[in-house]
C-alpha cells in the first residue's frame, strides 16, 4: 500500500481564534474509504477543505501523491485540485443552470479560460458528462435546471461533476446530511461504487456512525481539532463512542433502511440505474 495523501502537523486557526484543526497527522492509503466523524465544530470540514486548499492551513504540510499541496500556488495548485474531487453537504450546484453544464463544470480545470468563455464544450466532454450522469442514474435529467431536482438527485449531479475531473481522491463534506435515510444510502452506494470499481480514494465526513460502520474501511474521529480515534469501524465500542461524542451521547441509527435490509437499497439503486439506461438509449449515448 502506498500513501496517496500525507498530512503532517496540520493546524488551522481562524482569524476569530478558533483552532479548528490542531496538529493533525495522517497517512491515507490509496483505495481506502475513510470516514471522518466527530461533533459539529470538531474540524471535519476545515480538515477536508485544507486538503484542496479551499481553506488556507495555518501551518503543517500536506502532500498529495508526492506533490506538496501546502506550498503549491497558481497553476500548480489548480492542477492538484483537478485531481481531487469534492462533494458538499449543500451540493453547491449552480442552481440556475442545467444539470449538464453543472456536470461539465467538472472539466474546467482541464480547459483554458478562453475556451470556457467563448467555446462550446468538446464532444468528448459532453459524452463523458452523460456517461457520468448515467452512472449516478440521472442522465434523463441532463437538460433540467439544477434547482428543479430533488436533494438526492442534486447530490448525484455533484458526484457526476466530481467524476468529470478523473479524480484520484474524493473529498465528501457531509454528503448526506441534507438527505433522507433511504436517499442517503443510495448516495453512499455511489460513493462506495466509485471507491471499489474505480479505485478512487474517498474521505467522507459523516454524522451517523451506522453509515460510517457500513461504508467505511477506516474511521477517523476528530475531537476539538485533534484525532481522537483512528482505526477499523468495528473497533468503535460504547466507551470509544462516548469519548468521541461526549458522556451524554446516545448512538442513533439512521433508519428505516439499514445494512440488514440491503434488498431495498439494491432495488432502489437498480431502479435508478434502469432509468438511466433507458434515458441513455434514448439520447444515443455510446455504451463503453
Amino acid at each position: 500500500m502506498e500513501a496517496v495523501l500525507e498530512i503532517r502537523d496540520l493546524v488551522k486557526v481562524y482569524p476569530s481564534g478558533t483552532r479548528a484543526v490542531d496538529g493533525v497527522s495522517l497517512d491515507i492509503q490509496r483505495g481506502e474509504f475513510v470516514v471522518l466523524i466527530g461533533l459539529s465544530g470538531s474540524g471535519k470540514s476545515s480538515l477536508l477543505r485544507c486538503i484542496n486548499r479551499l481553506v488556507e492551513p495555518t501551518s503543517g504540510r500536506i502532500v498529495f501523491d508526492s506533490a506538496d499541496v501546502t506550498r503549491a500556488s497558481g497553476p500548480e495548485l489548480r492542477r492538484i485540485r483537478r485531481r481531487i474531487g469534492m462533494i458538499f453537504q449543500q451540493f453547491n450546484l449552480v442552481r440556475r443552470t442545467s444539470v449538464l453544464s453543472n456536470t461539465l463544470a467538472g472539466r474546467l480545470g482541464y480547459r483554458t479560460t478562453w475556451r470556457t468563455i467563448v467555446g462550446r464544450p468538446s464532444p468528448d466532454d459532453v459524452i463523458a458528462a452523460f456517461e457520468n450522469l448515467g452512472r449516478v442514474g440521472i442522465a434523463d435529467k441532463a437538460y433540467a435546471r439544477a434547482d428543479a431536482l430533488s436533494g438526492g438527485q442534486q447530490q448525484r449531479v455533484g458526484i457526476a461533476r466530481a467524476l468529470m475531473q478523473h479524480p484520484e481522491l474524493m473529498l465528501a463534506d457531509e454528503p448526506v446530511a441534507s438527505l433522507d435515510p433511504a436517499t442517503s444510502h443510495s448516495v453512499m452506494k455511489y460513493l462506495e461504487e466509485i471507491n471499489k470499481k474505480d479505485g478512487i480514494t474517498v474521505i467522507c465526513s459523516l454524522h451517523f456512525l451506522s453509515l460510517a460502520r457500513r461504508y467505511g474501511t477506516r474511521v477517523i474521529a476528530l475531537k476539538g481539532g485533534k484525532v481522537a480515534f483512528d482505526g477499523k469501524p468495528a473497533d468503535i465500542d460504547e466507551r470509544r463512542f462516548k469519548e468521541i461524542y461526549g458522556e451524554d451521547a446516545i448512538e442513533v441509527e439512521i433508519g428505516p433502511v439499514r445494512d440488514d435490509d440491503p434488498t431495498r437499497i439494491e432495488a432502489r439503486t437498480r431502479e435508478l440505474a434502469a432509468d438511466s439506461t433507458t434515458a441513455a438509449a434514448k439520447l444515443n449515448i455510446p455504451d463503453r
Binding site: 484542496n52 485540485r81 481531487i84 474531487g85 450546484l93 440556475r96 463544470a105 474546467l108 479560460t113 475531473q165
Partner: protein, 283 residues
C-alpha cells in the same frame, strides 16, 4: 395580570407595566417633530397672498385646451423631429443611451466593488473600498445638478443631458450590481474552485449565471427611471422634450404645455408598466 408572572417567579413583561403615554422618550419625539414643522413654517415664510385664483383657474383650463399644432411641422424649416412627438422619441432615446453608457462603465466596475470577489488580499480589498466610495460620491450628486454642470462644460444640448444622466447612473447601477454579486450563493464558487478552475473560470461559471437575472432586472429598472428623468433634463439645458415644455410655458402657450405634459405622462406610464411586466417575468 402581573400577579400571574410574579406568583410563578417569572419576569413581568414590560408591556404590562409600561404606559405608552407616559414614556417620555415617545413624547419627546412627537414634541420635537411638531416643533420642527412649526419652526419650518415660520422660517420659510410661505406666502400664498400672491396667488390669483381666477388666473390659476384659467391656466388650468388652458392646460387642457390642447394645442395640436405642435404635433406637425409648422414651417418649412421644421422636420418631424422638431415636432413634440419627434422630441418625445428623442427624449426616450436620451434615456436609453444614458443607460447604455452607464451600463458599460458600471458592469466591469461592479466586480471591483463586490466584497466577496475582492476579499482575501489587502490590495484588492483596498480597491473594493475605493470603488464603493466612488459609487457613493457619484450617486450622492443629484441628476439635475450633474446636468447643470455638464451643460456648462459641454454646452447646452443632448450631450450634456446624456453625460449627466449617465454619470449619476454609474453610481446607482454600480451599487446595485455590486450588491447583486455580494448576494450570491457562495457554495457554487467553492465547488467550482475545487475542480481546479482559475478565478476567471470561477466567475464565468459560478458567478455570472447567478447574477444575470438581477442585472437585467436592475438595468430595466434604471432604464425606466432614466426615461422618466429625461423629459425634465431640458429644463436645465439637457436637451429633449423638456426644452419644448420650458419654452411653451415661458411663451404662455399653456395649451402646448398641457399636451406635452400629457405625452410625458403617457410615455412614463407605458414605460413603468412595461418595465414592471418584464421584471416580474424575470424573477
Amino acid at each position: 395580570m402581573a400577579e400571574y408572572f410574579v406568583s410563578r417567579g417569572l419576569p413581568v413583561p414590560q408591556e404590562l407595566t409600561r404606559n405608552p403615554l407616559t414614556q417620555w422618550r415617545r413624547l419627546l419625539v412627537i414634541g420635537a417633530s411638531v416643533a420642527v414643522v412649526y419652526l419650518g413654517l415660520r422660517v420659510t415664510n410661505l406666502d400664498f397672498s400672491r396667488a390669483n385664483p381666477e388666473h390659476a383657474a384659467s391656466v388650468i383650463r388652458e392646460l387642457f385646451n390642447w394645442d395640436f399644432r405642435i404635433l406637425t411641422p409648422q414651417n418649412e424649416f421644421e422636420t418631424w423631429w422638431d415636432t413634440a412627438e419627434g422630441q418625445m422619441v428623442v427624449t426616450i432615446l436620451l434615456g436609453v443611451i444614458a443607460t447604455a453608457f452607464s451600463l458599460v462603465i458600471a458592469l466591469p466596475l461592479s466586480f471591483l466593488g463586490a466584497r466577496n470577489v475582492m476579499a482575501g488580499n489587502p490590495i484588492t480589498a483596498g480597491i473594493y473600498i475605493v470603488v464603493r466610495l466612488i459609487f457613493t460620491i457619484v450617486r450622492s450628486i443629484d441628476v439635475l445638478i450633474v446636468v447643470i454642470i455638464s451643460s456648462v462644460l459641454l454646452g447646452i444640448g443632448s450631450a450634456a443631458g446624456v453625460v449627466g444622466l449617465a454619470f449619476h447612473n454609474v453610481g446607482v447601477l454600480g451599487k446595485l450590481y455590486s450588491e447583486a454579486i455580494e448576494g450570491i450563493d457562495p457554495g457554487p464558487l467553492e465547488a467550482i474552485t475545487a475542480t481546479g478552475a482559475n478565478r476567471l473560470q470561477v466567475i464565468w461559471t459560478a458567478v455570472i449565471p447567478q447574477i444575470v437575472n438581477p442585472y437585467i432586472s436592475f438595468t430595466i429598472y434604471r432604464l425606466d427611471a432614466n426615461v422618466r428623468l429625461a423629459p425634465i433634463l431640458g429644463l436645465v439645458g439637457g436637451g429633449g422634450i423638456g426644452i419644448l415644455l420650458f419654452q411653451s410655458i415661458n411663451l404662455l402657450q399653456y395649451g402646448a404645455a398641457g399636451l406635452i405634459i400629457f405625452m410625458i405622462v403617457v410615455t412614463v406610464a407605458a414605460m413603468d408598466f412595461a418595465s414592471a411586466q418584464i421584471r416580474k417575468r424575470l424573477l
